[in-house]
Symmetry: C2
């Protein structure tokens, strides 16, 4: 039974005061290098672990995070917000609050403006970002201001964001490809791809991964040119109808983004749902129903609850200077079929 050490013990061991140990612990300036060494030695020698609760209590100040999310009716994004709501009391007990800011994330100027607004006003931010130079600059400004920043769902790898919360979209596309290929059986035919826009980083990456697998492992399947439905139901439905009419031998369909209801409508009404292996993204009310009634065969999904919690946990860990449990914060690519619907 090892009585846990405290800062006071370390102070005694190093022959300095509490305050000095605290300074060293947080790499604060104003300590002679020699003293720093003595203190650090004492800490490692006795495997000192600061008591999280104590430091949390002592800082007293509440923490403020912001989530910058797309405005509009995207059900996946709404699920993330709902999940944030579920964490309310967890957050309250830790004296941290999050504000959700919705904005048109497709307009770089608007998005960048919203981010600039946050400078100096928050301890951290999670951003569903468009990968664009002015957005990148705004993120860097936020980081510069001392705030912790994580990108959410869609990354801006060239920015100085501290962390990305989301899936590997290339791998997600590959997974979709493997499923469509396998589900299409040994048959020969064409595969349709419907995306929101190839200008969106996540969509482009998914298409890339999907195409890779098709070209490499399913040579008997011919992939059609990507149709862009802008994540809208009507537009997607219209395009899908055209595709189905133009090609009688479509046996596989990959819906890369949203607009799933429209795509499914066109497919169902064509009467060919049973012949087409249909894989899409995310578990929402719409895809859930489609999986259950067999129109959709699988959904590639990233768990919105996990993403919401991960973003909050990572921001908090960054703010506290605690380590991040990388395995815990890794967002997995879920394959959801009728039988493992969550």
């Amino acid at each position: 039974m090892d009585a846990p050490l405290t800062l006071r013990d370390i102070a005694r061991q190093a022959g300095v005061s509490l305050a000095t140990v605290d300074r060293v612990l947080h790499n604060r300036p104003g300590v002679r290098p020699d003293t720093v060494r003595r203190v650090k030695d004492a800490m490692t020698r006795s495997a000192f672990q600061p008591h999280a609760a104590a430091s949390e209590l002592a800082r007293a100040r509440a923490r403020r995070f912001a989530f910058v999310m797309p405005s509009g009716a995207n059900p996946f994004m709404q699920q993330i917000q709902v999940q944030l709501g579920e964490m309310a009391s967890w957050m309250a007990a830790r004296r941290l609050s999050v504000d959700v800011v919705t904005t048109d994330v497709f307009d770089p100027a608007v998005l960048a403006g919203k981010l600039e607004d946050l400078v100096g006003r928050v301890d951290g931010a999670a951003v569903v970002a468009l990968d664009h130079p002015s957005v990148r600059a705004a993120i860097n400004d936020l980081v510069e201001s001392g705030a912790k920043v994580v990108t959410l769902v869609s990354d801006v790898p060239s920015s100085r964001r501290h962390h990305y919360v989301g899936i590997d979209n290339i791998a997600a596309g590959r997974t979709a490809g493997a499923l469509v290929g396998r589900f299409a059986g040994g048959r020969t035919g064409r595969i349709a791809i419907m995306a929101g826009s190839q200008a969106l980083r996540d969509h482009a990456e998914r298409i890339f991964g999907f195409s890779q697998v098709m070209a490499g492992e399913f040579r008997q399947l011919e992939v059609l040119a990507v149709a862009e439905g802008h994540d809208e139901d009507d537009r997607s439905e219209h395009l899908m109808r055209q595709l189905l009419a133009a090609h009688r031998d479509i046996i596989g369909l990959y819906n890369v983004g949203a607009g799933t209801a429209g795509v499914a409508k066109a497919l169902t009404e064509s009467g060919r749902a049973g012949d087409v292996a249909f894989v899409g993204h995310d578990v929402t009310a719409v895809t859930r129903k489609l999986l259950l009634n067999g129109v959709m065969d699988a959904a590639i999904s990233q768990n919105p609850g996990h993403e919401a919690r991960s973003a909050v946990r990572v921001l908090l860990a960054l703010a506290r200077g605690e380590p991040i449990l990388s395995e815990q914060e890794m967002i997995r690519i879920d394959i959801v079929m009728r039988d493992n619907l969550p």
Copy 2:
């Protein structure tokens, strides 16, 4: 900007002392019903949230949990232990420690004995349990003693355990069935099932779910009698060899438990790996390799890291009297194929 309320504020509002508020907060006896009401009113009126860090700090006492796990070389169980190790500093910062106790979980008397040993010595325990009357009784004794108990991986639903950390094994079996069925294409043939033992609750449930789907959705596939390889490689390999020799038309294979290396060896050496849709459980070094080289088509998996962390978090939340984030603690049934290998 709402300055967070403290117990002291509530005390003032209710016209009582700090200590009384604390008693009410924790439903401790020795407060007049009328006073209780006044205090509770004040708390709800101002949406009071106790500061987690403060209470954690004040209790000072470290917490001790035990994990009771199967001895032996089961790689999945070992992964759980590794993941516990990764949490070491997270736990240290919260002043909690876990001891891993390994034991022969297949012998009810031995397992029950180990559990009885824990009575009075731990604040909580996670148990990979056999569903047997004496184990159930031991779990109930532990709960009686005031410890928090969660079952891990395999449940004992009739016991008084506080929580089960693991997947719905019937749904897992159904998922395996859907995959084998889909991957077998439209072909006609036989499906083999290799299990550890049908006496294990999780195995029995998986087989049940698998059979359900086969009978309901894939009538052209005939399921063979379950072979029991006791989760051992050699035994499983031997049985698998016999099955393959006896039935030339096996086109699907479900490996319910461990012993995967043996099963795969028999399948590979028969030269029929390409013709057989092979689905098993868990992502381990063995199954990872089999997925990558195409012998295995999919693994149904429960994330050992998630289970380890969930068990610790749930025990901690129970011990602290905090609510459990149910969505977060739900263990999902992962479908892992080559392209979404974690």
